[in-house]
Symmetry: C2
Subunit: 198 residues, 2 copies
């Protein structure tokens, strides 16, 4: 039997974990933390509940894993900050658009956003994402309080736009061509990054 | 017995309805539509489930009532559009801030936003709110497609900011003084309302 059709236990584990996490993201986003059971996640992932406990320990462990942003996404966001500052607004919009078009990244972002409203731990995680990832510490030559305020404002626009376009799919935002999105939103981000905010 | 301590059936109905709707907003926002039962709402509102059926007919009827924006809020938003156009950005930020500081309005907006992610009917309702309320039809002397695009962009910023500040309470946005919020956000809204978006 050729190797690629007979994955070892390690590959199988990866496949099953990914299936469980995908089911967990949907369950947490749609039913909240209190309304989600390991049993329901296992049923939706078509695995035994014991396997979910074996891999993730508890519902808290599963929630934590399901809402951890993929390293690949953190790397994408960090790479955006290598963009020349005058072009940062545009680059951030592009990164947001490709993140939400990504089959692995989008469900995690959606789960974090939906769960943060009623789970303090996920809210803290979202706070860290906003603080650490959206405006890199060394990028803005201003004080820390100013950096955090600008980062929060940038996040408020990026997250709000992503909700309207990708989660709620409200027209005409949902089907606006990419270049129009960049032209419309990038200058507003650039103002939050650069300008005197009064 | 003085009248005010002995409310008639009509007053009692109002009080009970408000209590049931408040409980329903929390339940729908935290557990989703599928995860919410009339029984759980009744328990949380401390009333008999039969009363919830009597007042709202079904879970769909309850969801509909719980996510209907208060007329008072629609009036507030409509009144904002009487503001001279050059000051609209500022006025919209102020209206957003007072809406989310309002004990009756804020839970409804929160319920709509949280429920829209997994309920198509609430999503349609949110779409109508964005379309009809956020940019009044007669305000912008441009074509309808342009009005809807600008309205969606304004909504994306207002909703994203409200989530960061009021729902997730991410600092320093959560405790930014009101005048700083207006100074930071209003010019970006004004650009969506007025400017050539490229």
């Amino acid at each position: 039997m050729p190797k690629r059709t007979a994955p070892g236990p390690r590959d199988e584990r990866g496949v099953l974990c990914a299936r469980i996490l995908a089911a967990a993201r949907t369950e947490f986003a749609e039913h909240g933390v209190a309304g989600t059971t390991i049993r329901a996640v296992a049923r939706s992932a078509d695995v035994d509940p014991a396997l979910v406990y074996h891999y993730f320990g508890s519902k808290d462990g599963l929630l934590d894993a399901a809402t951890d942003p993929p390293q690949r996404w953190l790397d994408m966001v960090a790479a955006s900050w290598a963009t020349p500052r005058a072009d940062l607004g545009r680059q951030l919009v592009s990164t947001m658009l490709s993140s939400w078009a990504d089959e692995e990244i989008a469900p995690t972002l959606r789960a974090v956003i939906m769960t943060a409203a009623h789970d303090a731990r996920t809210r803290a995680k979202l706070g860290l994402i906003v603080e650490r990832s959206l405006i890199g510490a060394s990028t803005l030559a201003t004080d820390e309080a100013d950096r955090l305020r600008r980062s929060g404002l940038v996040a408020s626009q990026l997250i709000g736009f992503a909700l309207v376009r990708f989660v709620w799919k409200i027209e005409p935002i949902a089907s606006m061509p990419t270049d129009e999105v960049v032209a419309a939103v990038a200058p507003n981000l650039q103002r939050y990054i650069d300008d005197d905010l009064g």
